[in-house]
């Protein structure tokens, strides 16, 4: 147990326990409406998981990548095909293997990062986004020769028990997300994460200290794509409940990029904060539009305003707090603490 608990303080463990009680006991007992599970909690956790993937490659390793949705698509369709063709694997087995398949794509499209960085890398990763979605769309095998274009996702069955109610699906997601988040935190704290950050902060210095750039970057891309793949599979099977390549378009990639940047680059909790913000803000804006203005404002205008606000926030954060909401939260906490101790 020691290496797993390394460098975690008592506070961290208390936080973890509180979150677990909140996620597994309090939320399931008090929230009974399906809307909360199907429209908020489930997509939030799925997208937060994908954002962790984006964080690994962008926040920790400093590689500007813009193809998260492509890897999500790879994961989702891999999972669909595995459940269809290799039912022996079971749901979790399929989930892991589909993550690994996405990771293979991540390695392939992460290779350009060895030669280029910044905007150049962004263009190279865009190739993955367009290529993966096109490939799934054009080769019928991936969609089991379904001509309608939209395939219904299979029900999740684990050891013969169907998990089809929103609450059951939510519990599965909490389980997967918890494990993967803990893993990500451990990687980020350990030597793996230190290598990533060394490459991010100054690659030449990292290389001269003996950090292999090839290994570190490819590893980051693979792990990132694994997270995105698993997130994509969960997203398709629990939130969309259908599989269509169009759902994983470039817009979703941008959304995840925004979650990552606004949440705070190089933080795991930033992924959750960012995902919650990007997901909840439109809901809030819509309810304001409906309740305060009683539908006087057109829905398209509301969605345009939402876009403007996201853009403005992005600019404002880049200028005043490039480390995003996670850092902002830390600062606020510090200020409150120092005020209390002064008194």
């Amino acid at each position: 147990m020691r290496p797993v608990l390394m460098t975690y303080t008592k506070n961290d463990i208390i936080n973890f326990c509180v979150l677990m009680v909140l996620g597994l006991v309090i939320i399931p007992t008090f929230i009974k409406t399906e809307y909360w599970y199907t429209s908020i909690l489930i997509p939030w956790l799925c997208l937060a998981l994908a954002t962790i993937g984006q964080q690994i490659v962008m926040g920790y390793t400093g590689q500007l990548a813009l193809g998260a949705a492509g890897f999500m698509a790879a994961g989702a369709f891999a999972c669909f095909n595995l459940i269809l063709r290799v039912p022996e694997l079971g749901f979790f087995g399929s989930l892991i293997v589909s993550g690994l398949i996405a990771a293979a794509f991540g390695i392939l499209f992460g290779l350009p990062s060895l030669k280029v960085r910044g905007i150049y890398l962004m263009v190279a990763t865009l190739a993955s986004q367009f290529f993966i979605v096109w490939m799934i769309d054009k080769f019928g095998w991936f969609k089991n020769y379904d001509s309608s274009g939209i395939i219904t996702a299979q029900d999740i069955v684990i050891l013969g028990v169907p998990f089809t109610t929103p609450l059951a699906m939510y519990l599965i997601i909490v389980f997967v997300v918890t494990i993967l988040t803990l893993l990500a935190m451990n990687m980020a704290r350990g030597s793996t994460g230190r290598n990533w950050m060394a490459v991010r902060d100054m690659d030449i210095a990292a290389e001269s200290m003996g950090v292999s750039l090839l290994r570190t970057k490819v590893q980051a891309f693979a792990i990132s794509a694994f997270y995105c793949g698993v997130a994509g599979a969960l997203f398709a099977f629990t939130y969309l409940k259908s599989l269509e390549p169009v759902a994983f378009d470039i817009k979703l990639s941008f959304k995840i990029l925004f979650m990552c940047i606004l949440g705070g680059l190089g933080t795991i909790n930033g992924a959750f904060i960012g995902a919650a913000f990007i997901l909840l803000f439109p809901v809030l804006l819509n309810s304001v539009g409906n309740n305060v203005f009683h539908g006087a404002i057109d829905a398209t205008i509301i969605s345009s305003i939402e876009q403007v606000i996201f853009g403005l926030l992005m600019i404002v954060f880049m200028i005043y707090e490039p480390l995003g909401m996670a850092k902002l939260w830390e600062t606020i906490k510090q200020k409150i603490k120092s005020k209390i101790s002064k008194k």
Partner: protein, 302 residues
């Protein structure tokens, strides 16, 4: 045999001319990159914003064609002014990646504003140039080439010659090049950075407007223009980020290659390989010549 050759020629020429459309978008990127080493991700949004405003002035307020164009161009100057003042100046000392992310945000703002002001439905834009084969060329050369493509090609060529002359032979151009080389040194010898930035962003805005008119006349003025503009990125990688001739050559290469691939190889894979072929081509360029055909070698080896 002759027919096949003619068909091939037609595909190539069509691709080349369509490529000039990409060049027009790429030109805006190059202008800003050349003067400030900033990669302006919002160029695609600027294309969408400017042409939607142009259509809006013409169709909603019945402003005549020429005045609407001037109004839209002025609007782009205002956008440039605001960008310089509220986005670029506070980020003067920030890293390249930070500025890049801020321009992604700027793109979102422009897209949102355009849709809030002018609506989301597809608008038709009639420039008075038909998107059908020119009869004279069809009769004499047996090639079917659209008049719009030819116009786009001519406009792109003219703009590129104009901008090239501006950069090479005028005092402003010299200032622009000085700022691009070293902004700090340029401002210390008295080159007004603010004015240079404003000028460049306004010029990029007008280029975006022209590009938007060409694209809008072909495909309708709609949100998809933003995605189309993303294809200017591989164009830039092939041509080089800081080269105006590179933008046009890159556009031509992308345009011709994607059409040839689509027509001759696409059918084996169910078509629509246009969507990703340019990006894969760009990756190959990145592996062998990362600075592009005409770019300066400024990429850091990693």
């Amino acid at each position: 045999m002759v027919d096949e050759l003619l068909f091939f020629m037609e595909v190539v020429v069509g691709g080349l001319l369509a490529g000039t459309m990409y060049s027009l978008v790429a030109l805006g990127f190059v202008l800003i990159f050349k003067a400030s080493a900033t990669f302006n991700f919002s160029q695609g949004a600027m294309v969408f914003f400017s042409v939607l405003a142009f259509c809006g002035f013409m169709q909603d307020f019945n402003v005549p064609f020429v005045f609407a164009f001037i109004l839209a161009a002025l609007l782009m100057v205002v956008v440039g002014l605001c960008t310089e003042r509220f986005v670029l100046r506070p980020l003067m000392n920030a890293s390249e990646d930070t500025v890049l992310m801020a321009t992604i945000g700027l793109g979102y703002v422009l897209e949102g504003l355009a849709q809030a002001a002018w609506g989301v439905e597809v608008r038709r834009l009639d420039l008075g140039i038909g998107d059908f084969p020119v009869p004279w060329i069809a009769d004499n050369l047996k090639l079917f080439i659209s008049a719009l493509d030819i116009t786009a090609g001519l406009v792109a060529t003219l703009m590129i010659i104009g901008l090239f002359l501006l950069f090479k032979y005028t005092k402003i151009g010299l200032g622009l090049r000085a700022v691009a080389d070293d902004a700090g040194a340029a401002s210390s010898i008295g080159i007004p950075l603010k004015h240079i930035m404003l000028l460049v962003w306004s010029a990029a805005g007008v280029v975006a407007l022209v590009a938007g008119c060409m694209w809008g006349a072909r495909a309708g003025v709609q949100f998809a223009l933003v995605d189309l503009a993303l294809k200017a990125l591989p164009v830039l990688i092939i041509g080089g980020f800081s080269s105006i001739p590179g933008a046009i050559v890159g556009g031509l290469i992308i345009g011709a290659t994607e059409k040839v691939l689509e027509v001759y190889i696409g059918p084996f894979f169910g078509g629509a390989i246009e969507g990703w072929a340019p990006y894969v081509l760009a990756i190959f360029f990145l592996l062998y010549r990362p600075e592009g055909l005409f770019g300066e070698k400024i990429i850091r080896r990693v």
